[in-house]
Assembly symmetry: D3
Homo-oligomer: 61 residues x 6
């Protein structure tokens, strides 16, 4: 029952999400023996301003 | 101090959120002895396109 | 595809988890029209010392 | 590699996010010896209607 | 700054975690143009008893 | 109703958790006008092996 939450700065196209979902599901099947039909993935697309690294918001960079 | 995060595909009406919050808070009080005033719930309403199951985005289905 | 994460201070018996899972799944089916077979729930049982409320660790109280 | 997720009801200005990021990063460096360059922070700004406390949505209050 | 949280029922060997981390980091680089050095991954290994699907704890199955 | 989840590699002493909780709660009060009594914090202390950065598990370093 893997649940994978992918949080990124910015947005992804539908096509990118579909391809990432396929690959991550495949990785968990091949490496961890988790059947495809058990894997749930969610994407959180967040503004750069809502991320900080080393104390600086990402939209500073 | 239960914290419950409910993530769904699509959206909920305000009325649905209120009813779900009541019932989940009540469940935790009756079953787990957590006082009502300790339970915090958050809802994440996410596009179908941001969920994948078995390697396919939910808006495929 | 609801994903519900229930985080609590302390632990739950297996029976409490089973009952909570049933009730929350049922709530989401009745109120939000989410089919039973779409709901995934995870429980995080955490030490009281790993929670703080109003700036005080819960094991202070 | 601390990852800090700050979820709030309502929104924050960019300036508030920057100041919070600085202070939390500094706190983890001073108290927990986590180098600044290891700390990642994300902010989730959520509608009041998407939070419940004690079984009531926050926008009730 | 992708942050990926992988939550599974049961445990993984160190080797499985390393391989999954490599592949997921690579997927995000190839598909979403996220530089390797921006990707942070965390694994939560949880008892089967702490997961429910369709209202039943996973250790029922 | 801020909810702050602090996830770290390794562990913290009880004293470190108490001090971090105080400072983060204070930061949110001063900067974001969130009353002390609204802030809930949880700590996840995770093995270094359960974190990856740039495709390498943290216990490699």
């Amino acid at each position: 029952m893997p649940y994978v939450n992918i949080r990124i700065a910015g947005s992804l196209t539908r096509e990118q999400k579909q391809k990432i979902a396929e690959e991550v599901t495949d990785t968990l099947e091949r490496i961890a023996n988790k059947p495809r039909s058990y894997t749930v993935i969610s994407f959180d697309e967040m503004p750069y301003e809502n991320w900080a690294f080393a104390g600086e918001l990402l939209d500073n960079n």
